[in-house]
């Protein structure tokens, strides 16, 4: 994985001191709250419902054991013993004190981490496929480019006071695990007809109040030109975006107002100028230098059949876990293991300091150098020897981290909602928990198959409800929580925006409604169809009829 050199280390250290000075001035009253707010947000610090919240970046989702231990230390020392992994490969602490935050950042800097640009109207933490470097599907590891983007975007002088936030993701596989098409800008690593590797750039995707799927900006950008192209998009956005209406200031609105063709023309003009100046050219040596950091560990030469692994499959629990949480690896005899942070009864994405430390120990014990954070709020062990899987599973089970539900109905993406969030209209976590309880039976979950439920507690869509096969949106109806149901969304390569089914459901009705929808799917599906496929084939009507059939409102 990437290691800071002296320049990166000094940069993060100075940035911490810069923030310390800002906090000092705020506490002394030299900065008002209005002035301080954008500055603290640029360092990931929010003021939430109960307290401050600090969002720490896990760039492209990669962590070392040492970094996990530091997160555990922060949870214990400055917070309340746990952290929460988000849908954009960040981790949040919910209870830090303002006066402690500079010290937290200083501690993070010692393990090459930061909270740079995890919020605010700037370029946010860059995300990537959590299986990067481990899946056989990819053209190349997307993380070297993500790291280059991280550096380029860090305190970019022209783009730290944008009209709104700007999120970038990088992918390199046909199967999109990073929700590329829902990002302000996304880079897909592709090959052109001549067999050269380069980048396809998309822009203008987003969720929130007005969801959009990203438009193609340029089919093929040469490697050396990628930063010039990204800068060109940002420049057009910064110059031309509206600034008079907060709901219309994302790049998706600009592109859909002027049209993608006009956007491409404006970007092209800037791109050609930047390219001609040559200052942002990415030399092949620099890309190679960064890529070398991400070289995979030296895989042992193993037979892809592991007798230890196959014997362990006799155990039903292990077999269930393997079926949902273990994915094919590029190297024979290895596997990718997803650690679900969605136990029945738990809070999706939460992880205690004890678990964080224990995971670091587990990594050491099995010689793993990396762990990943997924946008689905799970963790991933990217390189596990198959023969070690039974022991890894046993240890994860002791830690309460072996829930066999990755990609299944109880692997719910869920924002913090009204239990924590200042912006929320309704709670999300209790709904996720009730769904997890209702569908706790693993046989039933495996029978239902791939089904992505995503829950947001307000229109801002941190819980990606637009992109859920089943999406749930919490709204406030005269002070009472109500939940709208959306069907047919997808955040993957077949991206689509979920459609609202109809009137919302009360807090006590929503899980029943979800169950009816799923039962309808089970009746209508044909061989091998996922929920999403069935929905796309038959449309909203049969689901809607079933969901409302029994007059759920009669109870009220």
């Amino acid at each position: 994985m990437y290691r800071y050199d002296e320049f990166d280390a000094a940069f993060v250290k100075e940035r911490t001191e810069q923030f310390r000075y800002q906090v000092e001035r705020r506490l002394k009253g030299e900065l008002t709250e209005d002035q301080f707010k954008p500055l603290r947000l640029m360092n990931g610090l929010y003021l939430q419902l109960h307290a401050y919240m600090l969002r720490i970046a896990v760039p492209y989702g990669t962590l070392s054991a040492k970094q996990l231990r530091m997160l555990a230390h922060i949870a214990r020392t400055y917070d309340k013993g746990y952290g929460h992994f988000t849908t954009r490969q960040n981790i949040q602490f919910n209870w830090p004190k303002l006066k402690d935050v500079p010290d937290i950042l200083a501690d993070l800097a010692t393990v090459e981490m930061h909270a740079l640009q995890t919020s605010g109207n700037c370029i946010r933490n860059v995300t990537a496929d959590q299986f990067a470097g481990a899946t056989a599907e990819e053209i190349e590891d997307p993380r070297p480019l993500a790291e280059i983007i991280r550096q380029w975007s860090s305190l970019h002088p022209e783009f730290v006071f944008l009209a709104r936030k700007f999120k970038i993701a990088v992918g390199a596989t046909p199967h999109d695990r990073a929700a590329l098409k829902y990002h302000d800008m996304a880079v897909e690593i592709v090959k052109n007809e001549a067999g050269e590797t380069g980048y396809r750039v998309l822009a203008g995707g987003g969720m929130g109040r007005t969801p959009y799927i990203a438009h193609m900006m340029r089919e093929f950008v040469k490697r050396e030109d990628i930063l010039a192209y990204l800068e060109a998009v940002l420049r057009v956005y910064n110059q031309d975006s509206r600034r008079d209406n907060i709901h219309k200031q994302r790049i998706k609105i600009l592109i859909n107002t002027i049209g993608p063709e006009e956007m491409r023309q404006r970007v092209l003009r800037e791109f050609e100028e930047i390219r001609a100046a040559g200052t942002l050219q990415l030399p092949a040596e620099e890309l190679a230098r960064i890529a070398a950091y991400f070289a995979p560990p030296a895989f042992e030469t193993l037979d892809d059949h592991s007798p230890e692994f196959e014997a362990a499959l006799q155990d039903d629990d292990f077999a269930d876990w393997t079926a949902s949480n273990v994915h094919r690896h590029r190297a024979p005899g290895y596997a990718i293991a997803t650690i679900s942070l969605k136990p029945v009864g738990g809070v999706p994405g939460d992880c205690s300091h004890v678990q964080l430390d224990a995971l670091a120990d587990l990594m050491d014990r099995f010689g793993m150098t990396e762990i990943r954070v997924s946008h689905e709020q799970n963790l991933v062990l990217p390189h596990v020897r198959k023969k070690d899987l039974p022991a890894v599973f046993a240890r994860l089970r002791e830690l309460g981290l072996a829930t066999a539900n990755a990609g299944l109905v109880t692997d719910v993406i869920c924002c913090p909602g009204l239990d924590y969030c200042d912006l929320a209209n309704a709670r999300s976590i209790p709904v996720a928990q009730k769904i997890a309880e209702r569908f706790a039976d693993l046989d039933r979950q495996h029978d239902i198959g791939e089904l992505k439920i995503k829950i947001s507690g307000c229109i801002n869509a941190c819980g990606h409800h637009h992109a859920g096969h089943i999406g749930i949106l919490g709204v406030d109806k005269k002070g009472v929580e109500f939940y709208q149901l959306l069907l047919g969304g997808s955040g993957a390569e077949d991206a689509s925006i979920g459609q609202i089914m109809g009137p919302g459901f009360g807090e006590h009705e929503i899980v029943d409604a979800v169950e009816r929808v799923i039962d309808t799917y089970l009746k209508l599906r044909t061989n091998g169809e996922r929920f999403l496929d069935t929905y796309r084939r038959v449309g909203m009507e049969p689901f809607k009829n079933m969901a409302y059939q029994e007059q759920l409102y009669a109870a009220h």
Binding site: P38, V160, Q239
Partner: protein, 162 residues
């Protein structure tokens, strides 16, 4: 308002003129509206001329005349409105403007280093921002990752020993 130019306190020789007011002798700053209306008269005067642009006015609106100005003032209506960062950069790198680029309006100490990087070299500051503080702001971050209008060596160039 105090003026900091090239890092030190400086006198402001320019008189700001309202759109309908008569033109004074000596260096003058006018709005884009006034510049468009009285362009020929203004350019014919043998004295330094500045134009003040609002945050939604691209410097490209000045066309070729940019080269004939000695000052461009970029307004920050709110410090959160970051368009002027791109306008200053455009003035320096696309339009090759070599005169003074001055910031006016609502901006913070914490933005001075970014502003300097993209090409601002003069700042109409509140009393609380002294030249010493300006220099402090510029010293907060020793190195930078991106090329910009200031021509500073980037971290990548430093790594390569350039």
């Amino acid at each position: 308002m105090p003026l900091i130019k090239a890092g030190t306190a400086a006198a402001d020789p320019y008189a700001a003129v309202a759109d309908e007011a008569p033109l004074p002798e000596g260096p003058t700053v006018v709005s884009l509206t006034r510049f468009r209306k009285d362009r020929d008269t203004l350019l014919a005067r043998n004295t330094p001329l500045g134009v003040r642009l609002k945050s939604d006015e691209s410097p490209e609106a000045l066309g070729e005349d940019v080269a004939r100005l000695s000052l461009i003032v970029l307004e920050f209506p709110k410090f959160r409105d970051g368009r002027a960062f791109s306008w200053a950069r455009m003035l320096r790198t696309r339009l090759r403007f070599t005169g003074e680029i001055r910031a006016t309006g609502d901006f913070l100490y914490d933005q001075l280093s970014y502003m300097t990087r993209v090409g601002f070299d003069a700042f109409e500051v509140p009393e609380t921002i002294t030249p010493e503080l300006y220099r402090r702001a510029l010293g907060e971050m020793s190195n930078v990752y991106q090329p910009s209008a200031d021509g500073r060596k980037t971290i990548r160039e430093l790594r390569a020993g350039k």
